[in-house]
Symmetry: C2
Subunit: 291 residues, 2 copies
């Protein structure tokens, strides 16, 4: 008795392409939401937005090895496929899920040692090495390369990304406009838990103690935002509000001896267009605050 839309699952490029072809001929617009799986409300909200813009919705689930550094969590990145498919079915608006194999996306292989990597790669110069790019230098090259491949395979009319990854959104926006992809980009607001923690597949790694302190960054960013709302526009003063709060909590965690430590990677306050660090926020231009 279920009237749910059936989801087609494609695990290889030719089968997806040949299904996609019919909508090119019918001139039906396709929305595409690329994910690494382990879906949460943040993803689902992007999928719903996609279905409001286009009659056809495609979601990909692909844990992209090229965006992990050798010391990162590629192997233990959460993979929850049957649950993901169940969540997507419950939305009743997804037409197809694309689950490609690593060997098909990267025919030249993708060794974690980047020096050994062969084949085609895409970079955005001057925007990929700031902010998050400083601590994860090849992360964006991996993201941009896989996104380009997926765009060429799925040939979407619209794509949807989450604002949580602010710099990623800006870099992908540059990719689309500068390489002239015939694609419209949409950015969805960051999904957050009840206490402000940004939804993320990696939140599953957290113990309950860690989870309690995981909102520290959000609290630091909020403190800065408050200060800004009260009229402060100077970088040092604004960021110090965040540093103070985060340092205080970091100390607290250390003193309580909980078996883990908090470590602030970076706080960044940049021009939304150029990603250059700002000394002073101009009201009309705005700024991206992130950490």
């Amino acid at each position: 008795m279920s009237s749910r839309k059936e989801i087609l699952v494609f695990d290889n490029i030719p089968s997806l392409r040949s299904w996609r072809q019919q909508y090119i001929k019918q001139d039906k617009q396709v929305a595409f939401i690329p994910t690494m799986g382990s879906l949460h409300e943040g993803h689902l909200s992007l999928v719903k937005q996609g279905s409001q813009h286009c009659p056809i919705v495609v979601v990909s689930i692909f844990v992209n090895p090229a965006q992990f550094a050798p010391n990162e969590d590629l192997d233990k990145y959460p993979r929850t496929l049957s649950n993901d498919l169940e969540l997507l079915r419950s939305l009743d608006c997804v037409d197809a899920v694309f689950l490609p194999k690593v060997e098909e996306i990267y025919p030249y292989g993708i060794p974690l040692d980047v020096e050994k990597q062969k084949g085609a790669f895409v970079e955005v110069r001057d925007k990929s090495h700031q902010m998050e790019g400083k601590s994860r230098p090849l992360f964006f090259r991996g993201v941009l390369t896989v996104v380009t491949k997926l765009f060429n395979i799925v040939q979407p009319n619209c794509v949807f990304f989450g604002q949580k990854d602010a710099q990623q959104c800006i870099v992908i926006r540059t990719l689309i406009s500068d390489l002239h992809f015939p694609i419209e980009m949409h950015v969805g607001a960051t999904g957050r838990e009840y206490d402000g923690l940004a939804m993320s597949s990696r939140n599953k790694y957290l113990t309950s103690d860690q989870r309690n302190y995981a909102t520290t960054l959000f609290k630091g960013l909020s403190a800065i935002k408050n200060e800004f709302d009260q009229g402060e526009k100077n970088r040092e003063i604004l960021l110090n509000k965040g540093y103070e709060l985060i340092e205080k909590v970091t100390k607290e965690v250390m003193e309580k001896n909980l078996g883990f430590e908090l470590k602030l990677d970076y706080l960044s306050l940049v021009d939304p267009r150029t990603l250059e660090e700002l000394q002073e926020i101009e009201e009309e231009k705005g700024a991206i605050l992130s950490g």
Copy 2:
């Protein structure tokens, strides 16, 4: 009384895109021949091949600044637009010519100093730094980036490149397959003058004395090919045949004091698949000899 096909000329991306759109809906295949203009028989032969494969033929003419080094001939590269259009009209099979402006293709600008270049760039690792890439290190990044942009704008079903640029063909083939462009690539034989000189827009630079000696490379390559046809498979012996001939002519030019010198950049004998230099040619694999 002329029954010639009229050629539409587009000088910006939106107008080309909107014209292109109708053939997407009609599912009519489009052949695309990217050029830097200054067309010769080599180009025209590719265009004719394109028209044999697809009902719609698009030619682009765009002198791509990103593939010139600061010391190269960007400014004096021959530009012969009205003659090019006349030649294309005479073929009676071209539907559209795309003449984009540098500012539209490279919205972030494209300073010759690569350190200052911003925006998205495409590279093929491990194939772009051999052979010609050794003497022109950023040449292929420039080619691959502009080709990606043009592919995304024109959205061709088939593309046509000349075999003269053997390494370029291999690198673009990797680009298409590895980034999963939905495009079929065709390679046309090298157009040659009566005496074997490969047709090239840059041949126009040659004085008549220079033109007389411009076939030296072809003669060297032919000597190697002859030796190979007689059963020789060893790299040193084969390449030496070429080096000897070219050295002899180089000396002759010097002694005649003609006001120019011949200079051999490189001779290369590589595996057609991996572009690795070969010590010994295997009959079934073949080899690319170039210089």
